[in-house]
């Protein structure tokens, strides 16, 4: 069993998974098989943006930018307490791990859409690590739960000083230097989940718009609408499980976005157009479906 704190983080992750699923489904349905390219490109850009941002932060803080420090500050896949990982190697140059349980993959597989989930699994973690290592790392994903053949994921990430310029190696590796502590505080987890959700919305919106113009934007909007129809009843069920009213306070703790889309994270990771579309087609609809009044919606997020 998970405690109340865990459950809230899990709920947030479920909504991110659901949003991704509905947006990917709507894109494939509205834009055809070319949508796969747009979704993959979005996940690549998102991974690259997150990896690059962390690299900049670590460089500014004087942290050695090796794989060990990367995975102390960045989720190995996603930041869900239900993930069960077996870490096989945790060094500056080599990071090996298996994922035995992944709630996101379970959700996608249950919907019969493991292959849509795979676009995320194949692109996002690799591009984040590659951006952090300035293209010098190597990402391997030989097994993944989103594939019918496999019952676990196996990631192997390598980054060798001999494959990078000397200046970069000096900033990345240092014998005997202590690794950063794991950053698993609730605040960090919640912020990372919100960042992942807002970024997913932004990069999918942009990639679909770029490739398919208005068709792509319509697919994005339709995906959000479909998601809101799924999310609203689920929020009610989750609230009832913990004997809470499904109100603004509950949403604040269990849903990764504020209904008023006023998080500062939108400015950092979102785009105005994506925010607007999300507000109209997801957040306002949720507000209506859950019968929340205007006043109740006005809570302040991170």
């Amino acid at each position: 069993m998970y405690n109340y704190t865990d459950i809230k983080v899990q709920n947030k992750h479920d909504y991110w998974s659901l949003l991704y699923l509905h947006l990917a489904q709507a894109a494939m349905e509205g834009c055809g098989r070319g949508a796969e390219g747009a979704i993959r490109a979005a996940m690549q850009r998102m991974g690259a943006a997150h990896g690059e941002a962390l690299l900049k932060r670590h460089r500014k803080e004087g942290v050695l930018t090796n794989l060990q420090n990367f995975y102390r500050s960045f989720p190995r896949c996603v930041d869900d307490p239900r993930m069960r990982l077996l870490i096989l190697s945790d060094t500056q140059q080599v990071q090996l791990w298996e994922v035995h349980t992944c709630a996101n993959a379970d959700l996608w597989n249950k919907a019969g859409e493991g292959s849509l989930g795979a676009f995320f699994c194949e692109e996002y973690p690799a591009y984040a690590m590659l951006a952090y290592t300035e293209g010098k790392g190597q990402a391997n994903l030989s097994k993944r739960i989103t594939c019918e053949r496999d019952n676990h994921c196996r990631f192997s990430m390598y980054c060798r000083p001999a494959n990078m310029p000397k200046e970069q190696a000096a900033l990345s590796f240092g014998e005997g230097s202590a690794a950063l502590p794991m950053d698993e505080s609730d605040g960090s987890r919640n912020e990372r989940t919100a960042m992942l959700t807002i970024s997913t919305l932004r990069y999918l919106f942009e990639a679909l718009g770029e490739r398919f113009g208005n068709e792509g934007i319509c697919a994005f909007a339709n995906g959000l609408r479909a998601a809101s129809n799924d999310i609203a009843p689920l929020l009610r069920v989750q609230a009832s499980h913990t004997l809470r009213p499904c109100d603004a306070e509950f949403l604040k703790a269990n849903f990764p976005l504020s209904l008023s889309a006023d998080e500062t994270l939108w400015q950092m990771w979102g785009s105005e157009q994506a925010r607007e579309q999300t507000k109209i087609n997801l957040l306002d609809r949720l507000s209506g479906l859950l019968e929340l009044d205007e006043k109740e919606n006005r809570y302040v997020h991170v």
């Binding site: 098989r33 070319g34 690799a126 990402a139 030989s142 390598y158 494959n163």
Partner: protein, 305 residues
């Protein structure tokens, strides 16, 4: 038990595998991290060369450049009878397979050079399979027999059409090419002798080239020392095979079991790999060392054919 022909392929394969580790060992001992940098780059160039050769051959056949073609038409690696692979999936987008026994990994481990084997696994496959499909292949090798704790190699080599630019889609996938007529081709395995000779020449050539580029004459000397180590080791291995098989240790036996010709100048495979005096160095430092070692072991010269 293996047949004599199989044993020859095994010796050729081991010669090729150990040539790599003997040369790199010298580079690492002489130049440390910078030696490793040169070795990794040489391994990537070797991978790219093999990929371009294979792709050109497949294009000539009219095949689509995808994972099914790469792993079913027949590559340039001769089939070593000791390899054990389990194919999980092969289609134009994916080749998923497990290598349960890899004689290359076994040899490197036996010689205490697993770390050098890791360099090969990290660099070669990525470069080769990646280059084959114009840099768009995702080469996932998350488990390897050269990695401590892994019990097999898990290859997931993936080429997603939707990650390709539009102009390459018809060249790689039949479903994007309405005018495509499927080509029937016979799977043809590479010949053991020619195959391993060619691979060894290429492998050595790129290691020499990178060593010279990075370290000049000192780099060349390190590679020459590696060739001598490989020559001495090859002599012991083939002498043992000759004894076990009851074969005469002559020039013909040399040719059948060593991935270089006794007279490299007579071998046309060197034609594109002559820079840095590579062929002459191979003759002087590998072939001559091997012959001297055979003489020391058997107290006689290698008999001519």
């Amino acid at each position: 038990m293996y047949t004599y022909e199989e044993q020859c392929t095994i010796n050729l394969g081991d010669g090729y595998t150990l040539l790599y580790s003997f040369i790199i060992r010298r580079m690492l001992d002489s130049f440390g991290l910078e030696g490793e940098r040169a070795a990794r780059e040489a391994t990537r160039r070797f991978g790219r060369d093999r990929a371009l050769t294979t792709r050109a051959r497949h294009e000539k056949l009219g095949a689509k450049i995808n994972m099914k073609s790469l792993f079913s038409i027949g590559g340039d690696l001769p089939p070593d009878p000791r390899f054990r692979r389990e194919l999980q999936e092969l289609n134009p987008q994916e080749r998923v397979s497990h290598t349960l026994i890899c004689p290359m990994a076994d040899m490197w481990k036996q010689y205490g050079e697993q770390a050098i084997g890791r360099i090969y696994c990290e660099e070669f496959h990525n470069s080769c399979y990646g280059t084959y499909a114009f840099g768009y292949t995702k080469v996932y090798l998350a488990k390897t027999l050269t990695q401590d704790g892994d019990e097999y190699c898990a290859f997931n080599i993936v080429l997603r059409p939707e990650n390709l630019p539009d102009e390459l889609k018809p060249q790689c996938f039949a479903e994007y090419d309405p005018d495509y007529h499927e080509v029937k081709y016979e799977r043809k395995a590479a010949d053991g002798k020619t195959g391993f000779d060619h691979l060894s020449i290429k492998l050595y050539y790129y290691l020499l080239d990178e060593a010279v580029k990075a370290f000049g004459d000192e780099g060349a000397r390190a590679v020459e020392a590696g060739l001598e180590d490989a020559g001495r080791d090859a002599a012991r291995r083939i002498a043992s095979t000759a004894k076990e098989c009851g074969k005469e240790l002559d020039a013909a036996f040399f040719s059948q079991n060593v991935p270089f010709e006794m007279d490299p100048e007579s071998d046309p495979l060197w034609a594109d790999y002559l820079e840095n005096n590579a062929r002459q160095r191979a003759k002087e430092h590998f072939v001559e060392t091997l012959k001297a070692e055979i003489k020391a072991l058997t107290e006689r010269d290698l008999a001519p054919v």
